[in-house]
């Protein structure tokens, strides 16, 4: 008998042998690692062959959905995939708004799926309650994400969760991704290639078992209060209608309203932020595109496209292949510079590389996805170009962190200047540069420090730590300091809380949750006695295990957690409060503060023996 909230089983898949096994969920492990993201990290830690290549059979894919997924708590659809990623060489979490995938997984009776080995031929994993099969994917191989997903929906009906890769993943492009239900992206850093390396085209799941909660009365009371709060939010309608567009001025409302077909929500979400748009006129009239945000569809505009309709068409192609758009455009920009300076022979650039041209960008997306001509070099990412044309080419590369292009900051697509936790986090999350708020109040706009304590308390930051994060208690703003490194530690902890439970981390949702409420809900849903200190302790254990897993894989904090040079100087980041240019010594201090606040050695970034003892991780 499993606790409420959990489906109760883990599905183990051995692609090499073509075998599957359904194993009861280890509830003692759950007690230690919460569920969802936390359990994915633990299962990966245990299942991976340490030191393996990311694209080798020894690298597992661990999928999972937390205990709240499948319930009707607001916005609890999150799905996580944990694996070693080929671009960064680190074990990374990959998260997605789960649409129906997580809920169907839970309804099928599984909290997690652990996929190991490598199939000899292309297959997809079919989960229909406890009927689990590996099915020949020969007819799907070579299809786009969109085509694959629709083909499987046609076959299985809806609701059915589909995790699928496109041709870029099949061809092991290290910046390929997978998609959930053809909308939510999974895995910057090359998760698509990991699936491709296993000859795994897709995972399709449907279930009819239901998800129960342990204490229905308490659950209902807490859920009703939470839903009422959301219903009473004065900005609810605006958020439902426009979502994140308000924060990104490069998406004109008029354009959006012309093409908006409808907004789309992950299961259980009252503030759906995904978009379904239809090009209203022009040569691509009638093209319908689903996206995790219409903002993404404007990425080509940031690189020079002038017509939003071309931009949407381009993104339909890039998403179809399953390419990471930021890596793709960053790579194109670097290649163009190397062509201009003659490092890459001009005759290799056929067609001409033009970042403002739909024809050119679609052609190069294809050449990269299929490894054609120069596309074969570019398909190895920034590392491939540098290996092929020499170390000196780094001078024209964009900022790189663990071999990946951060998409926010100086020299990146979204050039916001203030250096808060989201920016520092691009260096300090082992998975590589990823932009997510983690609930931190430094997300986006500069906010007055006075509002920080309320947010920090909501995130579960202990009172003593709030004093370390915000120094100075006078009313003079200039006399105060914000410790971004210490704040990031708690931002990562809050993200871990949300991810392990299954709650969406997007700002417009997680603002309604707080750590105390999370502990109460965890207890009501699962029946596992939990209070805030106990939840904090488990969260600390999860993130520290994530650290240990990557140190075991060879993470070198001193080298790999060092910010790129482009972040400093007059054109670099600015300090969050003062707006003064960020210096490397500022960043180094923040990094040491981050390590120290976690209980890790501030010089080496390695968890101390004392901290490992506290967390019960001395022998994980």
């Amino acid at each position: 008998m499993s606790a409420g909230g959990f489906a109760g089983k883990v599905l183990w898949v051995d692609l090499t042998r073509g075998e599957t096994a359904q194993v009861p969920l280890d509830m003692s492990m759950v007690e230690s690692f919460i569920g969802g993201l936390g359990m994915c990290l633990k299962l990966c830690y245990d299942a991976i062959e340490p030191g393996c290549d990311a694209l080798s059979p020894g690298n597992p894919i661990v999928l999972g959905a937390g205990p709240f997924v499948g319930t009707n708590l607001p916005s609890t659809s999150r799905v996580y995939a944990v694996s070693k990623l080929p671009t960064t060489g680190t074990i990374g979490w990959c998260g997605a708004g789960g649409f129906t995938f997580g809920t169907m997984l839970k309804n099928a009776g599984f909290d997690h799926v652990v996929i190991r080995g490598r199939s000899e031929r292309p297959v997809y994993l079919s989960i229909s309650d406890d009927d689990v099969r590996l099915i020949d994917a020969g007819s799907l191989w070579g299809s786009t994400v969109e085509e694959t997903t629709h083909a499987l929906w046609q076959q299985y009906g809806t609701p059915t969760g589909v995790l699928a890769i496109g041709q870029a993943g099949e061809n092991l492009v290290p910046f390929s991704m997978a998609f959930v239900d053809r909308i939510s992206t999974v895995g910057r850093g090359g998760f698509g290639a990991v699936m491709g390396s296993k000859n795994l085209k897709a995972v399709v799941v449907q279930g009819t078992g239901g998800v129960r909660v342990a204490d229905r009365k308490r659950y209902r009371a807490l859920n009703t209060e939470l839903c009422d709060k959301i219903q009473a939010w004065p900005h609810l309608k605006e958020a439902q209608d426009f979502g994140m567009i308000n924060a990104f001025s490069f998406v004109p409302r008029d354009d959006f309203l012309r093409m908006k077909k409808r907004r789309a929500a992950c299961i259980s979400c009252p503030i759906g932020c995904k978009d379904v748009v239809e090009i209203p006129d022009g040569p691509f009239k009638g093209l319908v595109k689903c996206t995790s945000s219409v903002i993404n569809l404007y990425t080509p505009m940031l690189y020079g496209f002038r017509d939003y309709r071309d931009s949407i068409k381009c993104m339909a192609t890039i998403d179809g292949y399953g390419l990471d758009m930021f890596e793709f455009f960053g790579l194109m920009a670097m290649t163009q510079r190397l062509l201009d300076q003659g490092t890459i022979p001009a005759q290799l650039a056929e067609p001409e590389i033009r970042l403002d041209s739909l024809y050119s960008m679609e052609a190069w997306a294809r050449k990269i996805s299929f490894g054609e001509g120069l596309g074969e070099v570019l398909a190895r990412g920034f590392r491939g170009i540098i290996e092929e044309y020499g170390e000196h080419t780094k001078k024209v590369a964009p900022p790189l962190i663990k071999g990946m292009h951060p998409y926010a900051g100086p020299g990146s697509a979204i050039a916001w200047p203030l250096f808060g936790t989201m920016e520092l986090g691009q260096v300090l999350d082992p998975r590589g540069p990823h932009v997510g708020s983690g609930g931190s109040p430094t997300y986006f706009a500069k906010r007055p420090l006075d509002v920080f304590p309320k947010h920090l308390k909501r995130m579960g930051v202990p009172a003593a730590a709030i004093g370390r994060i915000i120094k100075g208690d006078g009313t003079e703003e200039a006399a105060r300091e914000l410790n971004v490194g210490a704040l990031l530690r708690y931002s990562h902890a809050w993200f871990t809380t949300l991810g392990s439970l299954g709650i969406c981390a997007r700002g417009h949702i997680n603002r309604f949750y707080d750590a105390e409420l999370c502990a109460k809900l965890y207890e009501a849903v699962t029946g596992i006695p939990t209070d805030l200190p106990a939840l904090r302790h488990k969260v600390d254990r999860v993130w520290t295990l994530y650290r240990l897993a990557n140190l075991r894989e060879g993470l070198e904090p001193g080298r790999q957690e060092s910010p790129p040079e482009q972040w400093f100087g007059e054109a670099g980041f600015k300090r969050y409060l003062s707006g003064e240019p960020l210096t490397r010594s500022d960043a180094d201090r923040m990094i040491a503060d981050y390590y120290r606040e976690w209980g890790w050695d501030p010089d080496t970034g390695v968890p101390t023996a004392q901290e490992l003892e506290r967390l019960g991780l001395a022998s994980p």
Partner: protein, 80 residues
């Protein structure tokens, strides 16, 4: 027949399935879209909202809709 008339506006539906979750929980004590008496059917990029024969028009689905896709009217009374 139930207490309410349920009106559906599929164009407003975001596909969150909160209605199916609430319905199934009410009648099966578990969150299970396949057991719901309301069905949000996604067809391509469009959606359709159907009710099964077991639906007794209790209005629980409308109570949980945040998007204005479902509303309930007390028979002989006002829309809610």
């Amino acid at each position: 027949m139930g207490k309410y008339q349920i009106d559906a506006v599929p164009a407003n539906c975001a596909g969150c399935l909160r209605c199916e979750l609430a319905c199934s929980d009410t009648y099966t004590r578990s969150f299970n879209p396949s057991a719901a008496r309301i069905r949000v059917v996604m067809s391509g990029e469009d959606c359709r909202i159907d009710f099964t024969e077991e639906c007794i028009e209790c209005g629980m689905c409308a109570d949980h809709c945040f998007y204005g896709a479902l509303s309930k009217t007390e028979k002989g009374g006002d829309e809610q």
